[in-house]
Amino acid sequence: MKMGKPEDERLQRYFDGELTPEERAQVEAGLSEDDRLRLAALGEVRGLVANALTAEAADIDLWPALEKKLAGGGKAEAKARRRWGLRAHPASWSAGLVSAAAAAALLFFVQPWHSGHPQNGCDIESLETVGAVASVIHMDDAPHNGDEATTVIWTTEDD
């Protein structure tokens, strides 16, 4: 897509203050009456757009919602840590997760400990690792993630 005539491009650059002083002087020396009317029209469009958007924004106050989100962000993170039994030290969390995954794999390949079919859509319903019981939850992500599903191993630690 191209612009109109070269004069249009030059006039626009003049209007937008994108010319050198020498170029500006040349344009000003050669402005026709139509050019002046076009410049006025450009100024009018600019004024209408800028004033409309500025007026629409006059009463905006983002702070109350932002303040909640900023405060909530910190609280949510702390809550998530508590919920998932995460500690400040990522190594201990990783170690726990590895233990849980290893236990889950072992149970999967050896034998479920109950004869009935688990009710959670997984092959096992719960497992015990490092002295703590962990729940196994099947999450159907299909609506968001195609045919994907997620299995969550949920451990709880006492504070």
Binding site: K2, M3, L37, A40, E44, V45, R46, V49, E56, G73
Partner: protein, 196 residues
């Protein structure tokens, strides 16, 4: 004397919530005006601005002291708005200039006015709605450059950097956006006042 943005950023970095609040209060209207001009929907514009300020807050430590705070915020707002438009339209083609103009290139800005006094747009809600509706009829690429230029006065180079395209592309988009806006506003003026 009010502290400048740099001082407020430094204070906010140290955890001063009052300083960050002052930055929000100081720049939220300009940010919202830009976002609204781009996405048209006030709720979406509000969400975009909130997300932009949250990103700013999260990344205060990376802010370079010699940069302008608003330029930084502004780029985040524009990029979030562009992402939003792409998701909303479900396609990237809207930012393709080959698709951006369905009219012949002949003819520039018409040498006559729409007949609306720009000052009226400050007080006349109906006129503002018409201007916003006209903006919404532009392609996202055209709307974005028009808002960047007319509201914030960004240079061609700044706009090219923000939109990651050439200055020639920016000039072309701006040219067609202005022309289209003028045509839409003249049509609205004629419809509202056929005798004019």
């Amino acid at each position: 004397m009010e502290p400048d943005d740099r001082k407020l950023v430094e204070d906010a970095r140290r955890g001063d919530a009052t300083a960050f609040r002052e930055l929000v209060t100081r720049h939220q209207r300009r940010a919202f005006a830009v976002a609204l001009g781009m996405v048209h929907d006030p709720d979406d514009a509000r969400d975009i601005c909130q997300e932009a300020f949250l990103k700013v807050h999260k990344n205060l430590a990376t802010f370079e002291g010699d940069a302008q705070f608003f330029t930084w915020l502004y780029r985040i707002v524009v990029n979030l708005a562009i992402d939003h438009l792409r998701k909303r339209r479900g396609q990237q083609v809207e930012f393709d200039d080959a698709q951006a103009n369905d009219e012949p290139d002949e003819g520039g800005i018409a040498p006559h006015r729409t007949g609306f006094d720009p000052a009226r747009a400050l007080a006349d809600k109906e006129l503002r709605n018409q201007i916003l509706a006209a903006l919404d009829k532009l392609t996202p690429a055209h709307r974005t450059v028009l808002v960047m230029r007319e509201v914030e006065g960004l240079s061609y180079q700044e706009m090219a950097d923000t939109m990651k395209c050439s200055i020639g592309t920016i000039m072309s988009r701006l040219f067609h956006a202005r022309k289209k806006m003028q045509q839409l506003l003249i049509a609205y003026r004629k419809a509202a006042n056929p005798a004019a």
